[in-house]
């Protein structure tokens, strides 16, 4: 789960990590009030969306007057911002963050991740701040420092000092930076984060550190014990269909092809999408119905997939383990009784109670394209999209 920059900064502030003075605003007038209260003679107005690349897309504006603050906020709020991470549709800007401008001396990168190679929390730092850390790591790996944290004792001060020295800091700056790293680690650990990134962490002309931009994501599996984080979820940032699907305990991700997919298990669901692609088609979605799919769950899956107007054929591929083919077949029959379906349906069932499942489908008198194997299922779906004989 992701949160907005302004929320991340409030969280970091509560851990005594220095962030610029600023506040979130829902409207241009509110932005103006925030700027007045902040004082000074320069402000930055930042669109708050859960996607990177805002700067290049015009989502971050420097204002030299209060009028400009109001104008930029007016321009941003209520428009869709298209960045390299949002896709063509862009993301609606519902709020902005207004902050004081600071004179920057140097920029660093500071982050923590769950590193999959070491299977531990790892501190990442670089003197090459303000750039994408993946790009820095690819082009100049010597500029990126990784420090693995032993979970038994947590991040130690000496590790922080070592990292601070490694990115070229010296003297008192090492102590200050180490304190920020330690606080960042505590925040990461306490809140069950998966990733936190301060990029850039800057030093100002007067020698202070500031987290100029910050991003944080959290472990969805740990939200049961993180009510404060859960409360910050912004449903406007998520696909309404994905939210609805998760309400039915379905894992749905919309894609842009024409073969709607209903599969059980994430691995088989991906492999099914891949097979469709190999036979020349394109999947319209990822959908994992999970184990123990009841007839209601299958019917909901049908409805959600078929709401997508791009879907020209529906492929159901179920390998029943804890699932049972007869339950799945009942679900299909229920789904087809509940709604008018005007696209061909390809059904591939395998595993537990296969014969019973097939019998239910045959007795229903409904029109299906049967497939015995994964290859048939993918091939027949793609042919059906193209209107060919199957």
């Amino acid at each position: 789960m992701n949160i907005h920059e302004y929320q991340t900064k409030e969280l970091l502030r509560s851990y005594k990590i220095p962030v610029p003075d600023g506040r979130m605003a829902h409207s241009a007038n509110q932005a103006l009030v925030v700027a007045e209260q902040l004082g000074g003679d320069g402000w930055v107005v930042k669109a708050q969306i859960h996607a990177g690349g805002r700067g290049k897309a015009g989502g971050v504006q420097l204002a030299n007057s209060l009028d400009e603050v109001q104008q930029y906020a007016e321009n941003l709020i209520g428009t869709r911002l298209v960045t390299k991470q949002t896709g063509e549709a862009g993301r609606m800007v519902n709020r902005v963050l207004v902050e004081q401008i600071h004179q920057i001396e140097t920029e660093y990168y500071l982050g923590l991740v769950i590193d999959r190679a070491s299977q531990r929390i790892t501190l990442i730092a670089s003197a090459a701040g303000g750039m994408e850390i993946e790009e820095v790591a690819a082009a100049t790996p010597e500029k990126v420092i990784n420090e693995v944290v032993d979970p038994a004792v947590g991040l130690q001060d000496f590790q922080c000092r070592k990292v601070a020295a490694g990115i070229g800091l010296s003297g008192k700056q090492i102590v200050k930076a180490a304190r920020i790293m330690k606080s960042l680690y505590r925040c990461f650990r306490d809140k069950d984060a998966l990733m936190v990134e301060i990029n850039p962490l800057v030093t100002t002309k007067d020698g202070q550190f500031l987290a100029l931009d910050a991003k944080m994501s959290f472990d969805g599996n740990a939200l049961f014990r993180q009510p404060e984080i859960t409360d910050q979820r912004d449903f406007d940032e998520e696909d309404p269909k994905e939210i609805e699907a998760s309400g039915h305990d379905l894992n749905y991700i919309a894609l842009d092809g024409s073969v709607g997919c209903i599969v059980n298990g994430a691995g088989l669901a991906m492999a099914t999408m891949d097979a469709i692609s190999l036979y020349g088609g394109r999947p319209a979605n990822f959908l994992d119905v999970g184990g123990g799919a009841s007839p209601e769950k299958i019917a909901n899956a049908f409805r959600i997939v078929l709401e997508d107007p791009n879907v020209k054929v529906l492929l159901l591929n179920i390998y029943a383990g804890i699932n049972r083919c007869d339950w799945i077949a009942e679900g299909i029959v229920k789904a087809m009784a509940d709604q008018v379906i005007d696209v061909p349906i390809v059904v591939r069932l395998a595993g537990t109670n296969l014969e019973a499942g097939r019998a239910i489908l045959a007795d229903s008198g409904l029109d299906f394209i049967h497939a015995d194997r994964l290859s048939d299922a993918a091939e027949k779906s793609v042919k059906a999209v193209n209107g060919g004989a199957v």
Partner: protein, 289 residues
């Protein structure tokens, strides 16, 4: 032979009296698995499906000689249950539970250091040595006994591959799903090493996914050390970057995480790479000749 579990394995279930654990314990018993009891704190002394219930894993181990545990304990309490099993001397701990917090698993893996135990999962379909021992939620009847070792992240894609192989007359020595989480108890490499030494396994099938570098690490080791064919598949060639595809660990965070990049690396490392999941069985058979 086989790896991890066999007909002599003495199995307990943690969270024994819950609905799912009960069902799958019965299924395991039906296949001939030696289920010797279970643990549900607070219900010690009772009998459940004709097996004794204990309050602690330690008591269960002392009373029954259990050496394998299947964990069905809900996510908030899973880490505690796994560490309890480690401390009690259980050798193979299979964690079926889906949704265990990642940082809990980071701590569990730290606790594991210095103990002679292996954790499979979490979020796994489990382990099966056909006709001997089933510690998981897979349908036993689709797993014929044979000489192919299988390691996968996914459960259902594992079933799919096994069916393709069985249609070609190939059976399974042991099959393991390691689960779809980014921090999991056991990686592909650990299991490849075990299969390498198993005289009942003629070839190994590794079914990976987008995200992480486990498959490449395993294949790198295999190139120098594995004395039998290795067939590989990576699911998720059509997955969009930055999205979690059902499994928490199935996410493309960089170029090296993509299915295409991983399959290319695997091929360079001498793995027989399957491009189309529908051809897994055939590729395994070809690798044997």
């Amino acid at each position: 032979m086989s790896i991890l579990v066999n007909k002599d394995s003495r199995v307990i279930f943690q969270g024994f009296t819950g609905q799912h654990a009960t069902f799958h314990a019965q299924e395991a018993i039906r296949m001939g698995t030696q289920v010797v009891g279970g643990v549900t704190p607070g219900k010690g002394g009772q009998t459940h499906i004709d097996r004794p219930v204990f309050d602690t894993v330690k008591e269960a181990v002392v009373a029954t000689g259990a050496d394998v545990s299947v964990v069905f304990v809900p996510p908030p309490f899973s880490a505690d249950a796994i560490m309890e099993a480690i401390e009690a001397g259980i050798k193979v701990i299979v964690v079926i539970t889906d949704g265990v917090p990642v940082q809990d698993m980071v701590r569990v893996k730290r606790y594991l250091i210095g103990h002679d135990a292996i954790i499979i999962g979490p979020n796994t379909a489990g382990v099966i040595t056909p006709e001997e021992c089933k510690v998981g939620i897979m349908p036993a009847h689709i797993y014929p006994k044979g000489r192919i070792g299988v390691v996968s992240r996914s459960g259902t894609l594992n079933y799919e591959a096994v069916e393709q192989m069985s249609e070609l007359g190939l059976g399974i020595s042991t099959s393991i799903s390691i689960g779809g989480d980014p921090v999991n108890g056991c990686d592909f490499l650990t299991l490849l090493k075990q299969f390498s030494e198993d005289s009942d396994t003629d070839a190994v099938l590794m079914i990976g996914e987008i995200g992480g570098s486990q498959e490449v690490e395993a294949a790198t080791w295999a190139r120098a050390h594995l004395n039998k064919p290795l067939v590989g598949f990576i699911a998720g060639a059509t997955a969009p970057p930055g999205r979690t595809m059902g499994h928490a660990g199935a996410i493309i965070s960089g170029e090296a995480d993509t299915a295409q990049a991983k399959m290319q690396r695997l091929a360079e490392l001498g793995v027989s790479v399957v491009q189309n999941a529908a051809e897994i069985g055939q590729t395994v058979r070809n690798s044997l000749s």
